[in-house]
């Protein structure tokens, strides 16, 4: 093999971490699909296979305390942020040891400890939420960013357009990542969109919008690293369109007859993000076959254990029905890993009290507003 002309900007450790996380998602989803066919998982189950780079690149590029949320194809992000795989699997199984005690299921994974604020089942419903979380960061003068995932079809919802307008006008530190896997369920995005290149829509709101190769973990990493710096510098939101591909159907119930076998095969063989990253590392001598094989063995064992944990876990108690609808006075929030595994969770989000907090930010600085009034001949 030829020596690379330019040294890689990545460390071996970085590449192996990315590989491990992508492989974890792949393996987890394969086993979830298998458990679905065995009847252990029911309802809707949307697998992330093929899209791993879209989750892992960005997660490696931001801080652990940055906020993140997604739609209903939501197993990948929390796993890559450090969620307990067994507890995610248990949620899919509808067991009491799941992150949401089995109340949410596949579409509603929440791991607040790792700042993953949920999977949402109404297309585009999480887009305004992300702007609000970013608003809170500015309100409290924090330099946190919010990363929000949504599918290509969500870009045709009013929520998307209403939110981009506000996010840009108020310069909110939010990165919107459109996971364009080309199909909104079974409908090709080009069949329902006047402008199928989603990133172009940012220009209507005077915000940054860029396409990214969503099948390349390092390209996703670079795009989000840059976008996060932009957001933290107070320059406003960014829309990234990750062009990606799901190797499986929309959900476990979808045989995907609306796309050709050739198309799927071509993406699988030429564009799979996992071998792609491995090839890059090998080429740059930042990992040997043995390293990758060791990771794979390790992850397989981790996922086997996750399935076993889920399968052996009890269903939630029926008394659980009456919890978590209304917050009673003095009631604390549930910390899942404390509740299930008995470990001490130390990085649970803490917010300043209403007496400690000083709001120094101005959405529309008064001087500016007064000057505009003066110019227009208005008195205040």
């Amino acid at each position: 093999m030829e020596a690379p002309a330019v040294a890689s900007p990545y460390s071996k450790e970085q590449l192996l971490t990315m590989y491990r996380k992508m492989y974890l998602i792949r393996r987890f989803e394969e086993r979830a699909g298998q458990q679905y066919t065995l009847g252990k998982i029911a309802g809707f189950c949307h697998l992330y296979i093929g899209q791993e780079a879209v989750a892992v690149g960005p997660i490696e590029a931001i801080r652990p305390d940055d906020y993140m949320l997604s739609a209903y194809r939501d197993h990948g992000q929390p796993l890559a942020r450090g969620a307990d795989a067994g507890m995610v699997m248990a949620e899919l199984f509808g067991r009491g040891t799941g992150y949401s005690k089995g109340k949410g299921g596949s579409m509603h994974i929440f791991d607040i400890e790792h700042h993953f604020y949920g999977g949402y089942g109404i297309v585009g419903g999480q887009i305004p939420l992300a702007a609000g979380m970013a608003f809170a960061s500015r309100y409290r003068n924090e330099d946190r960013v919010t990363v929000c995932y949504f599918g290509d079809a969500a870009a045709n919802q009013g929520a998307f357009h209403e939110t981009l307008n506000m996010a840009s006008k108020w310069k909110l530190p939010v990165i919107y990542i459109c996971e364009n896997n080309r199909y909104g369920m079974g409908t090709a995005i080009s069949r329902t969109s006047a402008v199928p290149e989603i990133y172009k829509r940012a220009s209507a709101y005077d915000m940054r919008g860029e396409p990214v190769d969503g099948m390349d973990c390092l390209k996703m990493y670079e795009a989000v690293k840059d976008a996060a710096a932009w957001c933290r510098a107070g320059k406003g939101p960014v829309l990234l369109e990750a062009n990606t591909y799901r190797f499986r159907g929309h959900s476990m119930a979808d045989p995907a007859t609306y796309r050709s076998k050739t198309e799927v095969e071509e993406e699988r063989t030429k564009n799979d993000p996992i071998p792609k990253l491995r090839a890059y590392a090998l080429k740059n001598k930042l990992g040997a076959d043995a390293d990758f094989e060791a990771i794979e063995e390790d992850v397989k064992a981790q996922v086997d254990a996750a399935v076993k944990f889920a399968d052996e876990s009890p269903e939630p108690s029926v008394e659980e029905l009456w919890r978590d609808t209304i917050v009673d006075e003095g009631e604390q929030d549930v910390r899942p890993r404390e509740r299930v595994l008995g470990v001490k969770v130390t990085n649970w989000p803490k917010y300043p009290s209403g007496q400690e907090l000083k709001v120094t930010w101005d959405l529309e600085p008064r001087e500016q507003a007064e000057q505009a009034d003066k110019k227009a001949g208005l008195s205040r």
Partner: protein, 328 residues
């Protein structure tokens, strides 16, 4: 005790709570520079600045969802709906997100947020602007729904709603904003979920909330002149319903009418009837009567608009029916 307009009482509650807690902010259409479509937020922009009194674009779904997101990470938004008719556009965020976050997250998240604005008929505004929609929201677990009638309750319940750890839906009224009443100064907090006997009586119970309260009081005055003693129970909170207060009054008077501005089918009153028939059947001396908005859309013409809504005359007729004094 100072006398304030309903809108001034709300303004006082907002100002006091924003003073008390920097996490509280107000967002909505026209709440800032314009000082509020109904002047509820008069003077607040000058006092608290543009990060805490936010003029939103006309994107009800968008700014409602944004506020829910802010509440998920520790802020306490108050979202002003210019009217609840427009909030239908935002219902996805209220119902699918705010009401379900605690549940979907298995108790990891909470959503302390208030959605408030006028409901019911405003006067000569036709069908799209004249709906009493509280029954819609009262249907959903995960929400609290309040509809205070008096300025004092408006202040005390808004303060309680802002301090509550759950999403609270607050129905005010275009025709309530200018009404005056005594309002306690400072720390006046009215607990949610508690009905209030606004007028004691022995012959019949009139159960109501929001603007209909005033018609009920008017009816009760007139009935008193005929020797009929009517008790007026103001529910104030529609979710959760104060069953204890409802049943206590029914057991005292044995006759009940329920007055509701909204439509009869699947109305809040229907649920109150259900509570009464299942838990106080033997205490009833007559079937429960309901006075509701007619089962039609609201018209612009003054005579049609008036005929569509409950009024004191209709209430008096219903009272006489449960007292078997029809035609008396």
């Amino acid at each position: 005790m100072p006398e304030l307009m309903y809108r001034e009482a709300l303004n006082q509650a907002l100002a006091e709570e924003m003073e008390r807690d920097a996490n509280v902010f107000l967002i909505g259409e026209e709440v800032g520079r314009y000082n509020g479509a109904f002047k509820v937020s008069q003077g607040l922009l000058d006092k608290f600045g543009s990060a805490r009194i936010i003029d939103a674009p006309i994107s009800e779904l968008g700014f409602t969802g944004m506020s829910v997101g802010a509440a998920m990470v520790g802020l306490r938004p108050v979202v002003e709906m210019m009217t609840w008719n427009f909030a239908i556009l935002a219902m996805d965020q209220i119902v699918n997100n705010a009401a379900k976050l605690r549940h979907m997250s298995g108790g990891q998240l909470r959503c302390p947020i208030v959605f408030r604005g006028p409901g019911g008929a405003g006067g000569r505004l036709s069908s799209q602007h004249s709906q009493a929609l509280e029954a819609n929201y009262a249907h959903f677990p995960g929400l609290k729904v309040i509809a205070p009638a008096t300025p004092a309750d408006a202040k005390g319940m808004l303060k309680a709603a802002i301090r509550d750890e759950n999403p609270v839906i607050m129905f005010e009224g275009e025709r309530l904003y200018a009404l005056k009443g005594e309002v306690p100064e400072g720390e006046h907090v009215v607990p949610l979920g508690k009905a209030d006997v606004k007028r004691e009586g022995t012959d019949v119970t009139i159960i109501t909330w929001s603007r209909m309260y005033y018609f009920c009081m008017e009816a009760a005055e007139q009935l008193a002149q005929e020797g009929i003693s009517a008790e007026v129970l103001d529910l104030r909170t529609l979710r959760p319903l104060d069953e204890e207060a409802i049943l206590a009054s029914v057991r005292k008077t044995n006759r009940v009418i329920i007055v509701e501005e909204g439509w009869a089918l699947a109305g809040v009153g229907a649920s109150v009837v259900d509570i009464i028939q299942s838990k106080a059947f033997d205490d009833l001396d007559a079937p429960v009567e309901r006075v509701t908005g007619l089962d039609v859309n609201m018209s612009y013409a003054a005579n049609l608009e008036n005929a569509t809504q409950p009024d004191a005359t209709k209430i008096i007729a219903a009272v006489k029916k449960v007292l078997y004094r029809e035609g008396a």
